[in-house]
């Protein structure tokens, strides 16, 4: 049976994401910087996932495939981080509690291993959600 763990998700800027963004939203730099999920080594053990393996992250609004990496900026166990971008925003709840600010930080997600799943491109991940990709 596939293992699944629940983590508290935050999305933030990283300098690599900033550089990638300025290099172009369709650039490889941006893709590399934003399609990762920082995880604590203990959580990786608990989930049974190797470093740099793709995982499926599911929140109340949807799911996205990203690559699980071990955190460099230390997270506490139970906390996970995806750099801001279209991938992170596939799972960010849009509800704003009447403040205008969606819930970018601190929402629960389920994480499961999806080693063979493909990570979509920046434009593709958005167009897919918006139903603009003709299959």
């Amino acid at each position: 049976m596939e293992k699944k763990i629940t983590l508290n998700m935050i999305t933030c800027r990283t300098i690599q994401q900033g550089v990638g963004m300025e290099a172009g939203k369709t650039s490889q730099k941006y893709f590399d910087a934003c399609t990762i999920m920082h995880m604590h080594p203990e959580d990786m053990k608990k989930l049974g996932v190797w470093k740099n393996t793709n995982v499926k992250v599911t929140s109340s609004v949807g799911s996205v495939i990203v690559k699980a990496v071990e955190t460099r900026e230390d997270l506490v166990p139970g906390l996970a981080h995806i750099p801001m971008g279209p991938w992170a925003n596939r799972i960010v709840p849009a509800y704003t509690y009447s403040t205008g600010e969606p819930c970018f930080k601190g929402f629960p997600v389920d994480v499961e291993v999806a080693a063979s799943a493909r990570i979509m491109g920046a434009v593709e991940v958005l167009q897919d959600a918006c139903g603009l990709i003709r299959k």
Binding site: K25, N89, S98, T99, G100, E101, F104, V123, C130
Partner: protein, 441 residues
Amino acid sequence: MPKDVTDVICPFCGTLCDDLIVTVSDDNKTILGVKNACAIGAEKFNHQRLPGRVQRPRMRQADGSYKEITYDEAIDWTANLLVKSRKTLMYGWASTSCQAMSIGHEIAEKVGGIVDNCATVCHGSSLIAIEDVGVPSCTLGEVKNRADRVIFWGCNPAHAHPRHMSRYSIFPRGFFTVKGHKGRKIYCVDCRYTDTAKCADEFIQVQQGYDYELLNAFRTAVRGEALPDFVGGVPKEKIQAMADDLKSARFGIIFFGMGLTHTMGRNHNIDIAINLTRDMNDHTKFAIMAMRGHWNVTGSGQVLGWQYGFPYAVDLSRRDQARHQTGETTSVDLLNRNEVEACFYIATDPGAHFPVDAMISSSRKPTVTVDPHINCTTEISDIHIPVAMVGVEVGGCAYRMDNVPIETRKVVDPPEGMLTDEELLTKINTRVDELLAKGGA
């Protein structure tokens, strides 16, 4: 001979570094090198010369492909859309000049648009709190020259404002801070041990989402009242020691970021941080400042502020009055409720930075995106109008995070025939006037 352009303003983050040196080619068309900039700022300048940049407006076809059209066609289409739509979301503005914003607002007044800027998903909560309780702030120059206690709360300038620490907050030597880093005590409060925390003397690891409680505990400690053993995962001894140390400061400053504005509590987190700053002023001089993200998001707040009285999410759809109500006139809520008839995005990329549900709603409306480059939003828009990069290919006024206006500089010429934001918006404005004179589209 290539030449150096000095004192260039960096159009990336709210720090607006003003000491860049950019080497440009003889013909004034290509950027050859950038000095003094951070990794992100340098990339922004270097991006200008990348091949494959879109140079003319594009319109999406039925099969999903894009067809090149002329500026005139794009302007006419956009003006018609704006005039026809009863409620248009005009979002973005944070990466363009104040002059361009002003023209955009004029259009919004005529067509009944809702003008919102990137603060709506960034420091919007801070602006709500500032509207509620005011803000005891200062300029970055004062921080550099006076601050001996610096607190980074829920922000990570090492990643988001890379030169902030070296220019203003940690390392520089100032008039009263001649010892530089050694004369300052740096605190970092975050739920992660960030790269900023690694530069700090003290790191306080708060449990994610417990910032309000911890700020409240600091207020309690400063007032000398009893604390529970742990608040937000932080032991009371640590809170008390830090509170006592802050009281002994000559000048303290709290920098706060998305760690407060995006977590539960939102504006209340900022509210109490401002109140802590107010309390601290009973003991010493203390100030608080928002780490504004986009380089000119502060400028957008300023221009909207002096024109309509509100810093973001200004609803002009009633024509005779400006309205602002967070949760109602804010972009994400408008999109969530499917309340607008068309979208006009300029100088931003909501496709990458709005939650997907809001963008699904946006993608079903006629959309125009004005941006120098291809991004996520342009690829779900009906029309993409490329423009010159403000701060690189055209100058204009911008506001730094401490509300100091700085005139950005033109470094190189834009590609042949490419319009600037100001020129484009002026043309759209004129076309809107013509259409309205004819009695609508």
